[in-house]
């Protein structure tokens, strides 16, 4: 086990926090854009809440998010069905597309978002949330981190505002910016690898507590993530 340069973990957690807060700032802009019209007119079936300017956030320089929008809490008793106002950047090219997932419960491809963690946790806790890496099955079909916060109008939860960051984009963005001299793992709240600078630890894997108990962890401010040092043996020369 090599120990990193003093201060290295703090620098990394700081960079990670900065990147995450940057995406949450975008989420807050989406939320604000949703709040005003919702507070004024309420939610009405078939009437979009977000203006076209919101999707332009995806084209803002330095934007890490590949998708964003509003996901509405259904209220069948008021005639409000499942609904998303979500845009995403085409993986091959910069074109924006509206996400139109299958919202019919009788379909094999039903996008049951009210059960998804990114929707359910902000609804239950009233707080912002980050989930992933996960496969957004039946939705975008991509491998993502999703950041959401609740949209609450007059004390009522009306949905979540959110942004998707593709795991590959998150990785390449951070690998360019952090000090990799001492290998580390970035773990989420369920001990899943979000980012790894060790070839032996794969992104998406769950790490057992015994594996990471060895080194001191450094928490990432603002999200339930932490950085842990790992063994840096090469797999190529072993």
């Amino acid at each position: 086990m090599t120990s990193g340069r003093p201060g290295a973990p703090a620098a990394v957690t700081g960079t990670v926090a900065e990147v995450v807060e940057g995406v949450f700032a975008t989420v807050a802009e989406v939320r604000d854009a949703a709040l005003a019209p919702t507070a004024r007119d309420g939610l009405r079936a078939g009437r979009p809440v977000l203006g076209d300017d919101v999707r332009d956030l995806l084209h803002r320089p330095g934007q890490l998010a590949v998708g964003l929008g509003l996901v509405v809490a259904p209220r069948p008793e008021r005639g409000l069905p499942l609904r998303l106002e979500w845009w995403q950047v085409d993986p091959d090219g910069g074109r924006l597309r509206t996400l139109e997932p299958d919202l019919r419960p009788t379909s094999l491809g039903y996008y049951d978002y009210t059960a998804a963690e990114w929707f359910d946790v902000p609804r239950r806790t009233g707080r912002r949330h980050v989930v992933g890496p996960y496969v957004d099955v039946h939705g975008t079909g991509r491998y993502l981190l999703t950041l959401t916060e609740p949209v609450v109008v007059d004390g009522e939860f009306v949905g979540v505002a959110g942004a998707d960051v593709s795991v590959r984009r998150f990785e390449s963005h951070l690998l360019r910016r952090v000090d990799r001299s001492a290998p580390f793992l970035l773990l989420n709240g369920e001990d899943r690898v979000v980012l790894s600078t060790s070839p032996r630890e794969l992104v998406g894997a769950l790490v057992s507590p015994a594996e990471v108990a060895a080194g001191p962890a450094a928490d990432v401010p603002g999200v339930p993530w932490r950085l842990v040092p790992v063994d840096d043996r090469s797999a190529l020369t072993a």
Binding site: E100, D102, S107, L108, A115, H138, R142, A205
Partner: protein
Amino acid sequence: MQLLSGDARRAVFAPLDDGALRSEAVVRRVGSAIALGLLGDGEQLPAETELATMLNVSTMTLREALAELRGLGLVETRRGRGGGSFVQARDDVLGELADARLAELATTDLRELGDAHGAVASAAARLAASRASRVEIARLRDIVDRLARADSVTGQRRAEGRYYVELAACAQSVRLTMQEMDLHLELGQLPWPPAHAPALLERIVAAHRAVVEAIEVRDPAAARTLTEEHIEARTVWSIELRLRAGGEAVARREVS
């Protein structure tokens, strides 16, 4: 019509590469999409030219396919304003279509399909045992419960399709998830075994429960083996159905 962009839709309208028997391939694809609920009852299909482009077939081929689907009663075409082709989900027709498809296939085709599904699903189960979160495991369990409760063939098919797709998602793999979706569009063209032998539903449910247990206790080898063994049994079931049907139902076409 508004085209859905979910991953399942991508699979339904992906270009066909079957080569020969193109219009039949379109009929089968649409049939299984209806069986799996990916195309809903009353839903409008994309316009002919659009659909032909998506599926990579000529307009002529597509028209032949739509004519056959109309003949089967799975699609209704309305003329005039607001017209177009609309889906009619009919379980009896889907069952007949599946039996006819089975009769066209050789036992080696069924073995190949089972081998491919076994490879994908057992790899997914093994990875899921080390990568699935508690929440995901609970969701798998919930899907299997739904499968056990589903009282229609289509309901059972859809629940089972969701089980395998979710399993692949639990493996944290986009590629395995996509492959599982594609495989289900093919599997959805074949008879659902419990439709012929209802007691098999219990065995399917028990097999999936055993896999979820193995995932829960973090036993990748068991999750993989159980998945593999179950899919091997499924291959045997469909081959038996094929051989049994061989004498009665005359294949509509020679196997190409």
